[in-house]
Symmetry: C2
Subunit: 374 residues, 2 copies
């Protein structure tokens, strides 16, 4: 069941029902503009990842600032964006199930759809779905950019898959998918640069081998919030797939720049607003937001603007705070903003963004692809 919105436009932030997913609109717009400005002088364009925001509203704000399209991970996410008029969607992931491929083929009638493959059997399944729907689908070959998850080894294996795609009557070879996920949260810029250097080299080699076979490679896609500047500057990557940059989170906040300071390119715009529901003992306060309300897979949340408070444990519906001895614990009923440890899965818990500016609720946006896992 869709949950009712926790606020109305015009209300003060203090009246938002908790827990709520709060978006600081000034910081969010800064992040949108900043990414557009950073990519403009490079050869790469933004294909922002909708796995982060799951929102056609936000997709259109990114497109308005020059993004070439959107990435999604799931067929159901692609549907929700396509149904809301997003014109160019890449499923940056393998899709195997014939029922899902039939849905993607159906979407190809109303929008540009591309999908990834890393196996001949996968390509055959996509071809069968496109043929049955009497349409054409664009397919990218995923190469393992170093994360050791999906994707074939860069080089001849990828070329063989591209040839199979190019030779399939209902498919179009779209290029290479080369996302290096395990580089995104390496803390030192040197580590990130080393990992992305390897990813760039594998992609460059594969593009060259494709060219030798007479196969053009329109897209080389990858790059996340932690590494995108490296891919964008590589001369090899044509599309940047960053998602989290619009929101940021505690985990990205731990990445460091060359000076050893936290990377400050983007501002924290996403928060979970929560309320102290119990304060039974000095130095302890219990919030109404546990791990059902704020994802803990990448660490516990931080308390915004309150370095004196430590979020020490999350149970299903409770978050426990400890106060540093020199300060006063938050009072019963007090509302606090949390910085999620990880923005993507936190957003996926909610039905609504509550957009806030200057302490006042300005808008409600649905998390339209919340739970779109299929």
């Amino acid at each position: 069941m869709l949950q009712p919105p926790p606020a109305r436009p015009g209300q003060p932030e203090s009246e938002i029902d908790t827990p709520a997913l709060v978006l600081d609109l000034d910081a969010f717009e800064h992040n949108l503009d900043r990414m557009a400005a950073l990519l403009a002088p490079t050869g790469a364009r933004l294909r922002a990842h909708a796995k982060t925001h799951k929102s056609p509203v936000i997709a259109h704000l990114q497109l308005a600032r020059g993004a070439v399209g959107q990435c999604v991970q799931k067929t159901a996410e692609a549907e929700i964006l396509a149904w809301a008029g997003v014109p160019d969607i890449l499923v940056s992931n393998e899709v195997i199930a014939p029922a899902k491929l039939a849905r993607l083929a159906a979407l190809a009638r109303i929008t540009r759809i591309a999908v990834c493959a890393d196996d001949l059997a996968g390509i055959a399944a996509i071809e069968a779905a496109a043929e049955a729907a009497r349409t054409r689908l664009t397919v990218l070959v995923e190469i393992d950019a170093g994360a050791g998850r999906c994707g074939v080894t860069p080089g001849p294996e990828a070329v063989a898959l591209a040839q199979r795609i190019a030779g399939s009557p209902h498919l179009c070879f779209g290029g290479l998918q080369a996302y290096q996920g395990s580089a995104q949260h390496r803390r030192s810029p040197a580590e990130r640069a080393a990992l992305i250097g390897t990813a760039v080299e594998g992609a460059r080699r594969t593009v060259e081998q494709l060219r030798q076979q007479g196969i053009a490679c329109p897209i080389v896609g990858g790059g996340g919030t932690g590494s995108f500047a490296l891919e964008a500057a590589s001369g090899v990557f044509t599309e940047i797939q960053a998602g989290s940059y619009i929101f940021m989170d505690a985990d990205y906040g731990r990445n460091l720049d060359e000076t050893g300071a936290p990377v400050s390119t983007f501002r924290q715009s996403l928060f979970v607003l929560s309320q102290v529901m119990s304060a039974p003992r000095p130095g302890i306060a219990v919030l109404d937001a546990g791990h059902k309300a704020v994802a803990v897979d990448s660490g516990l949340p931080l308390v915004w603007n309150r370095p004196d408070l430590r979020f020490v444990s999350a149970s299903d519906e409770h978050g426990k705070l400890e106060a540093a001895p020199e300060t006063t614990s938050p009072k019963l009923g007090e509302k606090l903003r949390l910085i999620p440890g990880h923005c993507d899965p936190t957003v996926d818990r909610y039905d609504w963004y509550v957009g806030v500016r200057g302490g006042v609720v300005e808008c409600l946006w649905p998390v339209a692809a919340r739970g779109a896992m299929g």
Copy 2:
């Protein structure tokens, strides 16, 4: 947006779209019956916790087997059960926000509603809401049963709160909330018994002190899937608040009995069905279920009936499996059942239960209170 169901009744399990929340109905019904049979000879009755299942369908199946009512943690969960005819609901948690208390007071017109308090200010807020709605609300005093989270210390502090409730014109003192959450996953029965012994002793002492003040204590509530037999046998607890017993999970599966074997009272009935979407290298397979699809706060999932496969990492939308060297890796497209590390937050990711019996989809039930956090 509500996601469409991933299956239709009558389909074979192999045709369910993935990832999906699959309920083995034989095991589930065994668990329902087993709990009813275990509690029947004790003085305690079941008030099963709906934070686990978030389903009025399941609530009514528990009531039909003798449960006295349901627990919830959230006002929004109480609404969804009350609107579906559940006749007796305890919010086993403090509720502070006046807007939420007004909603609970409104529900008191159509069902029995009780809520917890651990602070005089909280009691005043509940009284104000009940007065404004011209109704009466039942309030339980939460005592800290040893978990160090919410609740006042057993004894005089709790008695003072009970007196304040009993003296409030629109409130009725309902008893004590005494859930010991930190005992539930202690592996050895001796550890669990020691912690619950302390919880029982605190509750017993508080009930006796209430009696000395002429205050009856109709409910003493607590107990979870890991400890309920101890509370039920105590002669002090009148209501058992277990939730997970209907489903079980990998974390509860690690609790041991007196012989050192895993506790086998209940069967695993809840699964996440997932599909191999990529198998790029020998010994590795990547599933379409990551931590957005299966909660990892209490550990990674296990692969059902495949001890040779290890779920080694979860990213947002991917689960990575490693195969033991002596076996064959799962093939591209193969579907596997996962045992979630933690059942409650896993259920909260989904819109539908897919009930399966004998390999065939028998029913679809909505996870009606999915995301009901407010």
